[in-house]
């Protein structure tokens, strides 16, 4: 067995990764184009939080985990067919 380059993951990191896996598995149950859209949005959100959220801010990470679990339960419901997201830029609004 060679030396593994993977660092040991903390419990919280394992939970985040498990949630990410669950999202991708739930996306598999949807149709192909919806599945791509879901995977895109989910991975974009996780990657954004990875860089923006401080590693030691446990309060906020746990809050995001709980919110993610709620959203996952909604996604798993067979009635939901997909995700979509809206990007609103506040800075460019011009008042006449």
């Amino acid at each position: 067995m060679g030396a593994s380059s993977r660092p040991k993951l903390s419990g919280l990191q394992k939970q985040v990764l498990a949630l990410y896996r669950e999202f991708l598995r739930a996306a598999r149950a949807k149709s192909t184009e919806d599945r791509k859209q879901i995977e895109l949005i989910v991975s974009e959100q996780f990657r954004r939080n990875l860089t923006q959220v401080d590693r030691k801010n446990f309060l906020y990470i746990e809050h995001l985990l709980r919110r993610g679990k709620h959203q996952l339960d909604q996604l798993k419901n067979p009635a939901t067919i997909g995700l979509s997201s809206l990007n609103v830029k506040v800075s460019d609004v011009k008042h006449s």
């Binding site: 801010n57 309060l59 906020y60 746990e62 809050h63 995001l64 709980r66 919110r67 709620h70």
Partner: protein, 262 residues
């Protein structure tokens, strides 16, 4: 008109500013132009001073159970709690203890509601109604429900229970157990026929009911003056009486402690 300025220190935390730790923010309210209950003060603060203050509220008369929070150390519903008019000390308003906070005074109650769902709070019968129409109930049988049906599921009792703090996933909590008792005991003699199954479902895992240590915080804090502790004690009594006594081998006979019930 004399102006009475009362200080309210309210717990604030927002997921939109995750780097700010939770803190107590002070608000000053003129009590002479405010309603008598804490919920009125919260509405006034949200309307006039800080509209970002978040809390749940609905009926404003103590029947929906939405506005439950911890006021001056006691769990109650804000719409039934009069403001303490002593202006020299502030009133502390914090969310229900040992619950995950979603924002400010709003907490995550999904576990609480799932536990209520798990006791199956509906009528279950094995045979049809006697004359094919409804299951009848005499007034005396209906009176047995008093003190049990008024529960508004505000979560004040469960979040006041230390046993629930340390084991929220396993222990059902006083509110769910009160409802379990309502569906077991009262309908024992009238309409529900699944009493034995319900009791067994509660007690086969020793964590669902028996984590109760008779701390009695639940009865002390209930805003509707209900008595979950009595319901839990009665269920324990029922369970102990329903289990047949087996003969113990001579070397294992100890003095059995019987839980004395009222």
């Amino acid at each position: 008109m004399r102006s009475l300025r009362k200080e309210f220190k309210i717990y604030r935390w927002s997921p939109d500013y995750p780097d700010r730790k939770p803190f107590l923010q002070s608000y000053f309210v003129d009590l002479s132009s405010c309603g008598p209950m804490v919920l009125d003060a919260l509405q006034k603060i949200k309307a006039e001073e800080d509209s970002s203050l978040s809390y749940r509220r609905s009926c404003r008369e103590g029947i929906c159970g939405s506005c439950s929070m911890n006021i001056d150390g006691t769990n109650t519903v804000a719409c039934l709690k009069p403001i303490d008019t002593n202006t020299s000390t502030p009133t502390y308003i914090t969310p229900l203890p040992h619950m995950f906070v979603i924002k400010d005074l709003v907490v995550d109650l999904t576990n609480f509601y799932n536990q209520y769902k798990s006791i199956e709070p509906w009528l279950k019968t094995k045979k049809a109604a006697p004359d094919g129409r409804e299951n009848r109930q005499t007034p005396a049988e209906r009176r047995k429900l008093d003190g049990l049906y008024e529960c508004i599921l505000c979560a004040c009792c469960s979040t006041a229970c230390p046993a629930y703090w340390w084991n929220p996933e396993e222990f059902l909590g006083p509110a769910a157990l009160l409802h379990a008792y309502r569906w077991i005991f009262v309908l024992l003699y009238s309409r529900d026929e699944y009493t034995d199954e319900r009791l067994q479902a509660l007690t086969e895992n020793e964590n669902r009911l028996y984590r109760c240590r008779t701390i009695q915080n639940c009865t002390a804090t209930c805003p509707k003056s209900l008595n979950p502790a009595r319901a839990i004690n009665n269920m324990r009594k029922m369970q102990k009486l329903s289990v047949p006594l087996l003969p113990l081998p001579a070397d294992k006979i100890k003095v059995a402690s019987s839980s004395a019930m009222i």
